[in-house]
Symmetry: C2
Subunit: 456 residues, 2 copies
Amino acid sequence: MPVYSISHVENVRVCVVMVGLPARGKSLISQKIVRYLSWLSIKSRCFNVGSYRREIAKDAVIDAEFFDPLNTEGLHYRQQAIDAAIFDMMKWFTEENGVVGILDATNSTRKRREMILRLCRENHIEPLFLESWCNDKELILQNIADVKTTSPDYIKTPNDIATQDFLKRIEFYETVYETMDTAKDANLTFIKLVNVNSQIVLNRIETYLESRIVYYVMNLHIKPRSIWLSRHGESEFNLTGQIGGDANLSERGWRYAKKLPDLVLKSLGEELKHTNLTVWTSTLKRTQQTASFLPYKKLQWKALDELDAGECDGMTYEEIEERFPDDFKARDDDKYEYRYRGGESYRDIVIRLEPIIMELERQENILIITHQAVLRCLYAYFMNVPQEESPWMSIPLHTLIKLEPRAYSTLVTRIKADIPAVSTYKEKGTSQLGEAKTGELIFKSRDLINNSEEAL
Amino acid sequence: MPVYSISHVENVRVCVVMVGLPARGKSLISQKIVRYLSWLSIKSRCFNVGSYRREIAKDAVIDAEFFDPLNTEGLHYRQQAIDAAIFDMMKWFTEENGVVGILDATNSTRKRREMILRLCRENHIEPLFLESWCNDKELILQNIADVKTTSPDYIKTPNDIATQDFLKRIEFYETVYETMDTAKDANLTFIKLVNVNSQIVLNRIETYLESRIVYYVMNLHIKPRSIWLSRHGESEFNLTGQIGGDANLSERGWRYAKKLPDLVLKSLGEELKHTNLTVWTSTLKRTQQTASFLPYKKLQWKALDELDAGECDGMTYEEIEERFPDDFKARDDDKYEYRYRGGESYRDIVIRLEPIIMELERQENILIITHQAVLRCLYAYFMNVPQEESPWMSIPLHTLIKLEPRAYSTLVTRIKADIPAVSTYKEKGTSQLGEAKTGELIFKSRDLINNSEEAL
């Protein structure tokens, strides 16, 4: 029988219709929403009209004039692009049971939005308009800089020319742009973000999914920051191959704890060595012992405790295989969904980590010392790792991982402590611990999300 | 060492300054926020200026003219009332370490709000203005009806005269009222609710506590509905006095399960018997077996699972007392905070139930079949039971509880199935199970919150 998290309470499909001039962060917001919802097992996809346009008009010259509302050739291509994106999105809703589709385009005019609204209504999809409105010049220029360096439209264009061209493109859009308005659009469900989220207007937000998206968007910030992840140092249970429990650190685990302050300083570099950061641990001794030499503020979270192995707590994998062979196999077959007798599954951890993720989005520099399964789930969120892969990622002991979220990707740095530790990686189909064959997975600085593709 | 939930991440104090004409639901919103935050262990209190005014002007005639902005005597009393309320609030912040204080008054003018703003800034308290703006006549009349029947100002006044007088009182306020405005109040942190929450404007919401209050208020609705709570039927573990586990129902437990559909129908009455409701259970067998004869949609929630007793799972209280005498005593001394070795405390349950509460606020008719400790926490939220009492409440087996949240109170109906079951109530200081001495606690239809007191 399926187990529900809140995301399953409703049976609705939502089309998030982005609205906004170019360089207003629409693609960034779209892709963050997709990542967040996918992590929560809500099937989501972004349809970026810009990439459709690039495909369809690949032989045309794409400069600012292409976007002149009086340029009939440009208009023709752009209409084809939006039609193709909507067609694919509707197909995805129907054939792949999509739940949240995001139409990432400027959708500048009320006429365009009414067309999308009508299509959504005909297909029993709830339309949620999400406008990013911005008049903060600095923010816009920063966004343009991001787009310029990543957009295929400007691959061969020198920087200053690209900026000028892009500003002109925006001017063309401005001539027809109609902002969302609580009077004129009173009947629509919409979120209007003013200068990121310094002001937010919510109109007719009704379903759970909508309110969830609102809450997430409300908590995003764009200040640069880093997140550090580490497992606790090697524990006495690690030495004996037992899972769970609340053991102390081993002698080598203590050595890692003593070295951790240095690793953090090294990762900060000379100029940032006075950066203030906060350490989050679980409530279990081995994470607190690992944090004990760090000269920063510390918080304990029950939600960061290791996956609860229920009746198998304290056993080795061999013992589990012997005593519960069917369970052992079932877990290998679907490690994400498998719930230990009286314990938890990876999916359960994701549900209890959701408030931690929300709080991480709000915070600046945080160092998290936690456990193998929990760290896999946190890492999967930041690096967009699919659910079927995340429980099999190798996250070795005695290694500090630094994540630096950027506009369209996350930089990963791995700092090894050079203190030996046992491997706690169990490969599929065996109860033996050993080095991970898929161990390189974690260290590929994989793109968080696709490259920026500015909208049609 | 203290364990943190998200509420502890920040070290801020917030003053929620209510803004709105009379009969806009300000007191209701204030009191719901206090109840929600208190349940989350965030120290909160509401300061209702109307009750201060009633105390200060107890010899004056309180009719509409009292609120005429030209009535100097009325103005004098009202000024004294707001001064006294603010004085007490500031004292509470300082001397009792208050975290969220709510100033429940009309705070109609920008001048008044600037005075409060200045005071907050001087005392390092974050001001959050929360306006309830409403032009829906039906909603206003419904609010007036609620206030009339509960306000001490109208105790001796016939209904129609009270309504007329109250409408006139509102008119006086309207002559000076200034709504929150994104241009004029651009520098303030505020939430503006338009017609409950059909439209919401958020300005400069920055801290976690603020965003939490926004999310809660966003999810409130005022449609009438009921919530049913029941423990699972008697289980085989109940018979042997064991805690935790995942046992099947006993024979008597199955009889309760079979009778439950009838009890629900009885609680609905003839005219409502086709009401649609949804059943939520935990992931444990005994709750699903109890739900198995109910002809409604069912959802399973991991978050509704019983308190995890960790190493004590499956033991009787006698065994726990024998094996872990210090733990046994520690739990009796502070049952809310005590966390079982490798398991949970009541506080941990509240944290994992928070999304359930949020979802319950959004939903209409829900029947929850869960476990003793979880039910205590849910009940404590709806009935505003203090944390030190809630773990000691008696919630007998084989009893359906129906809650009907009303504007200023919650009606409680208890429907006994008349099927015998063991008692699972453990009194403080003993390991014996027996009838609860404090058993009547749960069945007092205690007021959810104080009576409505309309603002100054």
